[in-house]
Amino acid sequence: MMKHYFEQLENGLKSAIDGGKASPRKHYSLEIARLGKRLYSGEDRVAWCGITTPFDLLNAMDITSCFVEFIGAMLASTGVAGDFIEEADQIGYSSDSCSYHRAVMGAAVKGMMPTPEFLIGTTSPCSGGLAVLENLAHRFAKPLFVLHVPQDESGKNVRYLADQIRNMARFVSDATGASLDSGRLRAAMEHTNRARDIMTEVYDLAKQVPSPVTGKDLSNFGIVMALFLGTEAAERIARAYLEEFRRRAEAASRNASGEKFRLLWIQNRIQFKNPLESMLADDFQATVVIDELNDITWEPIDTDNIYEGLAKRSISIPFNGAIENRVTHLQKLAREYRIDGAINPCNWGCRQGTGSRGLIEDGLRQIGVPVLNLEVDCIDSRKFTEGQFKTRIEAFFEMADAKKGNVY
């Protein structure tokens, strides 16, 4: 089913692009379709991983890999996550745990997750994510490697993680027989650094007022791009966005903009089809100009010191460490993007993100940015009630409207 779905998706997107209907989002989705197809091809060496795994290193070893939450999001976007969540609940998963993980476990039980050659768990961002990888390793009876991502760069933390990543490369070699060629690794990092540069430009353009970003242009972008780092695909996607945003920024300087509210989206988007984004745009002229994870928080990888660079990058993700880091990062984004308000979909089951809702709200309020907390399950559409959201969103914009102009 999944293989067929990704094949169809790839074909559809390819013909649209070839037929002159290209858009950056289509290029992005095309690469996702290709990755999905490879994951389900039965031919590639597959690894299931945690979110902060250095995917560029795995790409350099020809391993087709992704974080398991990606599958949860895919199932939600295709409208079938509910069945898999139910399956996980049947085998004893608590409905209080993150539904990204329940969907993935349900998919594994139903045989919808290809058997990997190995798995890599990461302690960041969440305890639930690590647990699900341990469970999958047990279920598939495949080797598991764990990366303990320290809370910050202090002391010997970077070296500690760099050593683990080195060991990880050895573990992958042992598990698959694939060797890590130093030339290929260096070339992968060069791809990573070029993609990083282009993405930085894309984000800089997104900061403009009015922003060239519309609707769902960049939803899930930062987190999913990590999967393509180390390959040409990452550069290709980033470049498509850069060209389009340049064009739009140019046009916007000539045309009046309908952008009334600029929004910051905290954590992940709601992954199933829902009317929120269009409601924001149509009813309130509000645009999500920045998602929390759409930022470059790391320096270019020093190709003479690759493992340390990868370690620093994993440590730098805003979900890692104390909430202070995360709030500081959100405040930085709010200022740089001249944000009028923030939306926090508090995914039920996420202790990492939702657990700190109050602290995030306080931190943004300190700089005059109101936050709309939505009680939502980002994966399970069965719990979504549009009416309830609508009332809350209306009230939020009324308040934000009254405030606007006094924010900075």
Partner: protein, 349 residues
């Protein structure tokens, strides 16, 4: 008399001996239901009641005068407790200690460095210099206490202690907040008492999970016909097991390895043996002669919640009946499950 200086803690991976060596008495902030619910204002409803009740105590000032609060980075909830603690009671500094999830050699080395950092922080907080001898002595002291506890557990297992599990829980609670020297004398006294000659038709049950502190909960199990012959709980035996010292000459390294090498709870595991926790529980239940297993965890505990299906499978595979209870650290929620516990014990007969 010299004033006791307390360092708060909340997790059984806490390096008690380091705290002690620095001249402090470790004080476990046990969750209770005596402080009004204020944590909900800062922490989301979906966080485990263990951390929320700890925060409630801090917010209500329902604590002795702590010099600092040492928080192990054991899970998302504990990390959020660290964040919220700083907001709620900034007058008590919080120290976050990073805790690896495995006990590989480089994880042990890393944890050793964390312990060294804690040593420095505590030295600055107090007025006692920590040297290797002090650490060795403190480890030995806690090992002595753990040794007494393990003998008491054995006494309970062979049926030599009236209301053994209830008594033990009361002792664990006190040993979590009182100076070890005082507890050791009391434990030794208890051990010297002859075994009681008890006969009962209660059924031997093994208990595992995280936070269950109220001895009344153990009375409840007994009143339902269960005899808790052994347990593996965060607020039970797990804090009081001996840590063997290797002859490496680096006590912090030995201690780090010893702490990480303890019987794993749900947040620590062996990457080379995924699913080990279920097997560990099965072995412990069988080894202790249990005819059934009760799991008790607080709600929203991701490490346990995620491992339960595997634990359930492992127990089922061995034909060990299993009852899972979920609660909020209070007697209230466990009391409501009395009928289920009774039915489970009946089913075991």
């Amino acid at each position: 008399m010299e004033k006791t200086k307390w360092i708060g803690f909340a997790c059984s991976y806490t390096p008690l001996a380091v705290i002690h060596a620095a001249g402090f008495t470790p004080y476990r902030v046990l969750p209770d239901d005596k402080s009004p619910d204020q944590a909900g204002r800062i922490l989301h409803d979906n966080l485990c009641p263990h951390v929320k009740r700890i925060l409630d105590r801090a917010a209500a000032g329902n604590l002795p005068e702590l010099e600092a609060m040492l928080i192990m980075n054991s899970c998302d909830a504990m990390r959020r407790l660290y964040d919220a603690w700083q907001k709620t009671c900034p007058q008590i500094p919080a120290i976050l200690v990073d805790l690896p999830v495995t006990s590989s050699q480089n994880a042990i080395d890393f944890f050793r460095d964390q312990l060294e950092r804690v040593t420095g922080v505590l030295e600055n907080l107090g007025d006692t210099g920590i040297n290797p001898e002090r650490i060795e002595n403190s480890i030995a002291l806690y090992n002595e206490m753990a040794g007494y506890f393990s003998q008491l557990r054995e006494k309970n297992r062979r049926g030599g202690m009236k209301n053994g599990a209830v008594v033990l829980q009361g002792l664990y609670n006190r040993a979590s907040v009182e100076p070890p020297e005082e507890m050791i004398a009391e434990l030794a006294g208890l051990l010297s008492e002859p075994d009681e000659n008890l006969s009962s038709d209660a059924l031997p049950v093994y208990l595992f999970g995280n936070v269950l502190t109220d001895p009344a909960a153990f009375s409840l199990f007994e009143s339902c016909g269960a005899r808790i012959i052994a347990e593996d709980m965060c607020t039970g035996s797990r804090l009081f097991t001996e840590i063997p010292l290797e002859a490496t000459g680096d006590f912090l390294a030995d201690y780090a390895g010893g702490l990480l090498g303890r019987r794993p709870c749900a947040r620590t595991f062996d990457a080379s043996e995924p699913g080990l926790l279920g097997r560990v529980i099965v072995e412990a239940a069988k080894h202790n002669g249990a005819c059934g297993v009760i799991g008790y965890t607080v709600k929203f505990c991701d490490p346990y919640v995620a491992r339960l299906p595997e634990i359930r499978d492992a127990l089922k595979h061995e034909g060990l009946p299993f009852l899972f209870l979920e609660g909020d650290c209070t007697m209230n929620t466990i009391g409501q499950q009395k009928t289920r516990i009774e039915a489970f014990i009946e089913m075991l007969r």
